[in-house]
Symmetry: C2
Subunit: 658 residues, 2 copies
């Protein structure tokens, strides 16, 4: 039975939840397929996550391996294939709680970097799981800066082998997933040396564990790097190589090859490979970043209409905490952001598909823009969503802090997305470099890519809003965001030039501008996100109340960004103080409007109870019963040796009854 405090929220929905779900899925047929996959996965006890919050790292690892193995069977059984429409829903349905994800990266790197012969040899073996692959790039002392990697691969013409070594401790491979305990093979990135000359970083296939008994191969030291903030189910590993010999054929050689005599040959264009790396950043957004924020919003908002605390009106019963303005101001902007990022994700996917088609036609013109957008948005979205999940956690008070709420593990996992696949600050600076370049080009009247043409159109006007309702006009706020992005890019470009003209060296000047460059890159992405949300709303069908509620969320997303960053809009007087007060008024008004649809808006994300795995967020809102039931299953409610060992001797001299 549904908690009446939750049920009443659903009756008040201003729009069709089912229609909105279909919109998010990309059509009712997609919804049907997704639900079928979720149903198949969740009804299979092998995939259960029931006791996840009670498990040790070892138990989590073992269960992830078991699930990965079972998944092969399941896919066969269900007729799901890697190219089928179901495939993209499987990982989401498993909540990522499965091993051998790096096995897929191993395969992809061979497909992209390997010769036809290498592909023909290794891909069938990997597909049939006759080996387990990993991907060993990051080292203890080296992350983002690939040129700094220290592992060496020296070609020995006499034996036609490469000899791999870890010359010092900072060169140990560190972090590769699936490598700590599972993998038999890995792709090692190492500095290639031939006849004493260094040719830079290249990829090599290396066997690390025996296929007979899983023991480490000669010269290999490998293991697990130990506990992390999350990812207990993954055996992130370390790898130390000592004179490990591999045949010449094991260097992945689509783009570069070492001939038997030691001649180094470079062939073909690596640009497509470079493109692959940028698409990875986009592809992780949906499952690893958006889904956790959507789950956190679902949990926190459902809980906030069930939890009652203090009295809002004297004489009445205690109020639902979502009726407090401060609670609305915490949660509803996160909800709006979840929708905004869903739509920007669609935009990016489409752009990258277009880019891929162009690149296949050997047209690489879009690459710099795609690289900048993938970098900037990966950083912006992971940052916002991580902060959003944390806000949801804190907004649930003590119960949010219990692992049983599901929120701590969402937070500790999403946090990693700010670091992996490119640390966010570095990515924002890459986006900023593109922006500055385009700004200079645009200022000089040269053509620039579509997403940055606005940089050329520098306007020195003022925001035309006359009352608070004007700030519900997408033109008004989109224009304001655009103005800020241009101003921050322009002023930082000017500072950079001033410094260089005053004699500061180029790299020093760049470093002295980086704090502001990061601000400019964020402003650029925020502008595009707002503009895209507004344009998306414009195109929605007006039936079933969908467009109306999406318009409210778009307004909230935009006004929240202004309200939280007023200085950027006030700085040069584009927005006046009086207008800022109008923004605040409209923003606070919107909270009360959206609050009415808050529960239907999270229901539309369509998470099952099993996928939320939260005592606070279930569809029926029976929070307290579930907390109590789940707590009773905790291993901390088993007998502890602490009593016999410590408490009994302490309470030695007790009274029979006090």
């Amino acid at each position: 039975s549904v908690n009446p405090d939750l049920a009443s929220e659903r009756q008040a929905a201003s729009f069709s939840v089912e229609k909105l779900t279909a919109l998010l899925d990309g059509g009712a047929e997609q919804t049907r397929i997704r639900r079928a996959v979720v149903e198949a996965v969740e009804s299979d006890p092998e995939f259960s996550r029931e006791n996840q919050y009670f498990q040790t790292q070892n138990e989590r690892y073992e269960s992830a391996v078991r699930k990965a193995v079972h998944l092969q069977k399941k896919m066969h059984e269900m007729g799901w294939t890697e190219n089928g429409p179901e495939y993209k829903y499987i990982y989401r349905a498993l909540s990522g709680d499965v091993a051998f994800l790096l096995h897929r990266v191993f395969m992809r790197s061979i497909s992209v970097l390997g010769s036809d012969k290498q592909i023909a040899k290794w891909i069938p073996l990997a597909t049939q799981h006759k080996l387990i692959g990993s991907y060993a790039q990051t080292e203890l002392g080296h992350g983002t800066y690939l040129q700094g990697l220290e592992t060496t691969a020296v070609f020995d013409t006499a034996t036609q082998e490469f000899i791999l070594n870890t010359p010092k401790i900072s060169a140990m491979k560190w972090w590769p997933g699936d490598m700590g305990r599972s993998a038999t093979h890995t792709v090692v990135f190492a500095q290639l040396y031939v006849h004493g000359k260094c040719y830079g970083i290249h990829p090599f296939i290396v066997q690390i564990r025996s296929l007979q008994d899983h023991s480490l191969c000669p010269g290999i030291t490998a293991g697990d790097i130990g506990p992390k903030m999350n990812f207990e189910h993954i055996d992130n590993g370390y790898l130390l190589l000592k004179n490990v010999r591999i045949p010449r054929e094991n260097m992945l050689s689509k783009f570069c090859e070492v001939r038997p005599d030691g001649t180094y040959v470079r062939q073909g264009s690596q640009k497509i490979n470079y493109f692959t790396m940028t698409t990875v950043r986009i592809s992780l957004i949906s499952d690893e970043v958006l889904t956790p924020l959507m789950k956190a919003c679902t949990i926190a908002i459902r809980y906030s209409v069930v939890r009652r605390q203090s009295k809002l009106k004297p004489g009445e019963q205690e109020a639902k905490i979502l009726d407090y303005q401060t609670q609305q101001e915490k949660l509803l902007p996160q909800l709006a952001a979840a929708y905004a990022f869903h739509f920007i994700n669609d935009y990016l996917q489409e752009l990258f598909n277009r880019g891929y088609r162009e690149i296949q036609k050997k047209n690489f013109d879009m690459l710099p823009e795609l690289h900048a957008l993938s970098s900037g948005f990966k950083a912006m979205i992971t940052q916002h969503c991580t902060a959003g999940v944390e806000i949801c956690l804190r907004a649930c008070g003590g119960h949010g802090y219990s692992l049983l709420s599901g929120l701590p593990s969402l937070y500790t996992k999403i946090l990693a997305s700010c670091i992996y696949e490119g640390e966010n600050t570095i990515l924002l600076l890459q986006a900023a470099r593109f922006l500055i370049k385009c700004f200079m080009a645009a200022s000089a009247g040269q053509p620039v890519p579509p997403s940055v043409t606005y940089l050329a159109a520098v306007k020195h006007g003022k925001c035309p809003a006359k009352n608070k309702l004007d700030f519900l006009s997408p033109d008004i706020y989109t224009e304001a965001y655009q103005h800020v992005a241009v101003r921050l890019t322009g002023s930082t470009a000017a500072k950079l030039q001033d410094l260089i003209q005053s004699g500061v060296k180029k790299h020093d000047a760049w470093n002295q501008c980086t704090v502001q460059l990061v601000q400019a890159a964020k402003a650029h992405c925020h502008y595009i996100a707002v503009k895209n949300f507004a344009e998306t709303v414009e195109k929605l069908e007006t039936t079933a109340g969908i467009q109306k509620i999406m318009k409210h969320l778009c307004d909230l997303f935009a006004l929240h960004g202004i309200f939280s960053n007023t200085g950027a809009f006030l700085h040069d007087g584009y927005t006046s103080a009086a207008q800022m007060d109008m923004v605040t008024a409209s923003y606070l008004d919107l909270l009360a409007v959206i609050r009415k649809d808050a529960v239907p808006l999270v229901d539309a994300f369509d998470f099952t109870d099993k996928s939320l795995n939260s005592a606070l967020g279930s569809y029926d809102g029976q929070v307290y019963q579930r907390l109590y039931e789940w707590a009773q299953k905790s291993p901390t409610n088993q007998m502890s040796p602490a009593y016999e060992r410590y408490l009994k001797p302490l309470l030695h001299n007790t009274l029979s009854k006090l």
Copy 2:
């Protein structure tokens, strides 16, 4: 041997680290005592935290109980007493990793709320650990709003007993520390009923476990609430009461008593008790909030001069990451905040000592101000320090995400401080209520407490700064902070009045202003923190370079606050856009200045390697060796059953050599 990249940082110190440590401790003698306690604790293997990051919740609990029991012996052995000078350093030296903290709250509540007779009976038993106490206030459905508690205690005149009950699931006691597995007794807060009339919440001593065999007493259901984000060592518990009878004498009766015939008598003033609750908020700041931020700064800053990544200047070796402006901008403001909050903590302690002396003279005039300051600063400092620890964690990239860095557990623990002892938003609103009241009084020419007299002095001037160096003048920036605090309080008070005058009901009007009220309360606290830092620096001795470096940190703390919140200062034109550019310039300049002393500034916190328990933050900076050594000890490097069970059957059909 110290990593040369770290050693060189120490040689460049502009001040005496030892003198600064003594300043932080409150004198060289205090430093000596603290170090002696730390040495005694850390040299005792019973208190070791060596394998903490590898332990399960059960193991952590058992170890905390063991340590608590051992601590009794240790104190006796060392001659440490609860009133001795060593006492306050013990908890810090243990990094809080010890059980029975609620036993102390149990004792304090009896001392404060109990009659002389009750104190005489229970305190000696508790002191000699003939029982283990807890404190059961929070319920599953009820936190901050005490009036909403649902547990009942009905007086039965016939038997002279109270009958305690948990009438429904939301009334279960939930969260009390030490209650899940250890406690034999607890103080239960319940609604008192006599002859059918409810007299509100009162405290009752209830035995929950047998002193003979630790089994649950009749009518008691109790256990552990399961895993949390941190606090694995504490058995936070639940408690369900079913017709539990306790004698009339077990109601704590210093202020209220039920006579044998059922007459309810209220006696004495509870104001001192109310004062006790506010001092708890202040007392937690040092150990639970400041220490974690200082540790996080120490770890992240030491790591940032050892870690090298990418090239800052072409042709040179990879740069220390602390040489990047963006890294400085992440870490150095946290360092400045740690010092700012250390000094505000001193200020608050002194104020509360003064308040205590006044209250003992039956003068309760300071209470409202003390309540507002304790609420506001508890919220402000926990919020800033939690965010600061998170920034430190993220600034260490992948290695910060490893539990072995120590940063994840600092973060997951400090986060709880935003929730316990009063949820932050609620506390800020309590501070705001005081501010609004004082603002109205001051506007009407009535006297107000010292910390808010500035509200009366509304000035409509402009910031007088003419160049970026002017923003290194404490008068300039303190005045700016004051202006913002007055403006936000004044404009919110005006909005509140407008709403009420336009016919909105008082409680609705209040709710519609809460987002802005929170802003006003934060601005007030920020102003006082800046002012206090500036005044503290003013009074420091100028020798040994201490005052100079503290002045830099004070400037950084102030300018970072403006830089991060420009809108508040720009809004009404008090600060112009040109002045804001000066702030930015001075702020960024300061980063480069303080960066030079960053390592000595964290060394001055004087944490031992054992107390940091971090592979990244040790004094010698041997980061990579330590990560590798520690990882090898992880239980995840023991044999896993996953190979035999899942991997071997999967790799069934393998080739002997690929």
